[in-house]
């Protein structure tokens, strides 16, 4: 993975001291809260319901064991001994003191970590496929480009006071695991007709109050021009976006107001100019230099089938279940990609204790695993595991309460912090997710249901990606009481779609039953091989709506 050189290290160290100075000026009264707020947000610091919240960047979701240990360490020393992994693949501390934040950042800098641009109206932490570098499907590892984008976007002098936040994701597979088209800008690594590798760029996606799927900006950008193209998009956005209404300031609103065609024209004009001036050309040597950091480990030649692994699966039903759901195909024979579910039934989705983080780091060291990934689905992923090590790894994960066999199943719910922590929330999301997971806890039943992505947000900001859920749940406030809207048919994958709102919301007491009735109706209606999403697309909202409101109908009569 990427390692800082002297320049990166000094950059981050100085950024920490710059922020420490801003905190000091705030405490000394030289900055008002109105002035300090955007500055602290730009460094990941929020003020939430109970306390400050610090969002620590995990660039493109990749962590080394020493970094995981440091996260555990700061969570224990400066917080309450746990962290929360988010849909932006970052990690949040829920209870830091303002006065301690500079010290936390200094600690993080010792392991090449920071909180730069994890919030604020700037270019945010770049995300990627969590299977990057390990999946057999990809054209190439997207993370070198992510790192190049991270560097280009860090304290970008022109784009640090944008109209709103700007999120970029990079993918390199046909099967999209990074919700690419829901980003302000999506970069897909593709091959053109001549077999040359380059980038397809889309822009204007986003969730929130006005969800949009990103629109194509350029079918093929040459490798050396990618930064020029990104800069062109950002420049058009910074110049032309509205600034008069906070709800209409994302790039998605601009793209849809002027139309994709006009957006492409404006971007092309900037792009041609930047290209002609040549200052953002990305030489192949630089790409190669960065890519070298991401070279995969040397894979041992291992013959399939792997006897120890197969034997353990036959012998141990729990292990077999875990393998069936939490493993994905690896590019090298004898290896697998293993998902560590952070969704134990009844737990808080995405939360991980310091002890668990440290134990995972120890486990990584014990099995020679140099890196771990954070997925936007709020799980952790071990990208390069030897199959023969899996029984031992599973045993250790089981002891840690981290072996829930539910990756991709109905209890693997994406869920934002909601009203239990978040100042912007309308309703709680975690207890609803817990109740739904409890309802479907039986693994047999989950397997019967198959792939079904439930995603839940505590307000319209959609941190829990509810628009992209096969079943999306949105917390709303109805006269001071928490209510929950159901949305069906969304997808954050390559078949991206925005979920359709079913109708009036449900109370906290009703929503779990409503979800269960919808799922049961799917089981009744589905044709062989159909996922929930497929059935929904075939039959539409009506049959689900007819069953979901059962209680309300009874109450009305």
């Amino acid at each position: 993975m990427y390692r800082y050189d002297e320049f990166d290290a000094r950059f981050v160290a100085e950024r920490v001291e710059q922020f420490a100075g801003q905190v000091a000026r705030r405490l000394a009264g030289e900055l008002s809260e109105d002035e300090f707020k955007p500055l602290r947000l730009m460094n990941g610091l929020y003020l939430q319901l109970h306390a400050y919240m610090l969002r620590i960047a995990v660039p493109y979701g990749t962590l080394a064991p020493r970094q995981l240990r440091k996260l555990a360490d700061v969570a224990r020393r400066f917080d309450k001994g746990y962290g929360h992994f988010t849909t932006r693949t970052n990690m949040q501390l829920n209870w830091p003191r303002l006065a301690d934040v500079p010290a936390i950042l200094r600690e993080l800098a010792t392991v090449e970590m920071h909180a730069i641009q994890t919030s604020g109206n700037c270019i945010r932490n770049v995300t990627a496929d969590h299977f990057a570098g390990a999946t057999p499907e990809e054209i190439e590892d997207p993370r070198p480009l992510c790192e190049i984008i991270r560097q280009w976007s860090s304290l970008h002098p022109e784009f640090t006071f944008l109209a709103r936040k700007f999120k970029i994701a990079v993918g390199a597979t046909v099967h999209d695991r990074a919700a690419l088209l829901y980003h302000d800008m999506a970069v897909e690594i593709v091959k053109n007709a001549e077999g040359r590798t380059g980038y397809r760029v889309s822009a204007g996606g986003g969730m929130g109050r006005t969800p949009y799927i990103a629109q194509l900006m350029c079918e093929f950008v040459e490798r050396e021009d990618i930064l020029a193209y990104l800069e062109a998009v950002l420049r058009v956005y910074n110049q032309d976006s509205r600034r008069d209404n906070i709800h209409k300031q994302r790039i998605k609103i601009l793209v849809n107001a002027i139309g994709a065609e006009e957006m492409r024209r404006r971007v092309a004009r900037e792009f041609e100019e930047i290209k002609a001036q040549g200052y953002l050309r990305l030489p192949q040597e630089e790409l190669d230099r960065i890519a070298a950091y991401f070279a995969p480990p040397k894979f041992e030649p291992i013959a399939e089938p792997v006897a120890e692994y197969e034997a353990a699966r036959t012998k141990d039903k729990r292990f077999a279940d875990w393998c069936a759901h939490n493993l994905a195909a690896h590019r090298a024979p004898g290896y697998a990609i293993a998902t560590i579910s952070l969704k134990p039934i009844g737990g808080v989705p995405g939360d991980c204790t310091s002890e668990q983080m440290e134990a995972i780091a120890d486990l990584m060291d014990a099995f020679g695993l140099a890196e771990i990934r954070v997925s936007h689905e709020q799980n952790l992923v071990l990208p390069h595991v030897k199959k023969r090590d899996l029984p031992a790894i599973f045993a250790r994960l089981s002891e840690l309460g981290l072996a829930t066999p539910n990756a991709g199943l109905v209890t693997d719910i994406i869920c934002c912090p909601g009203l239990d922590y978040c100042d912007l929330a309308n309703a709680r999301s975690i207890p609803i997710a817990q109740k739904i997971a409890g309802r479907f806890a039986d693994l047999k039943r989950q397997e019967e249901i198959g792939e079904l992505k439930i995603k839940m947000s505590g307000c319209i900001n959609a941190c829990g990606h509810h628009h992209a859920g096969h079943i999306g749940i949105l917390g709303v406030d109805k006269k001071g009481v928490e209510h929950y809207q159901l949305q069906l048919g969304g997808s954050g994958a390559e078949d991206a779609a925005i979920g359709e709102i079913m109708g009036p919301g449900f109370t906290a007491k009703e929503i779990t039953d409503a979800v269960e009735r919808v799922v049961d109706e799917y089981l009744r209606l589905r044709q062989p091989g159909e996922r929930f999403l497929d059935t929904y697309r075939r039959v539409g909202m009506e049959p689900f709506k007819n069953v979901a409101y059962l209680e309300q109908l009874h109450a009305a009569y």
Binding site: E33, L47, H50, A51, Y52, L419, K435, G480
Partner: protein
Amino acid sequence: MSKRATDPQILTANRLIDGRVVYWQGAGWAESLAEAEIFDDPEAADAALKGAARSVAERVVVGTYLFAVRLDEGVAVPVKARELIRAAGPSVRRDLGKQAEGLFSPPPVHAQVRHARTTPGPARDPFDVSI
């Protein structure tokens, strides 16, 4: 600023240095909801909110606002779940926040008894936020 003229109100903020939730208790800021001054009079509440600008200027607190409560046997119970959760801590982590630090009082027994008398079923805890 005042919500419904009929609901009493409490003045709250977050402390600047550590972000903790605090309540105006007449002469300063308290950490527990039970110590908060209850404003029956909307004008007095608005005046207290205005007065809190001084605490903001002195960099003691940020984000001052009023919220509505109902009196349950003389105990102020926030109308909205948001304020109950701010007062107690995360409802999904009863081991964290004020509820775990002795800064959030459990509901008085007499309040439960009263509920048991007036509503059918088990006694309702006015502070209960379970889902």
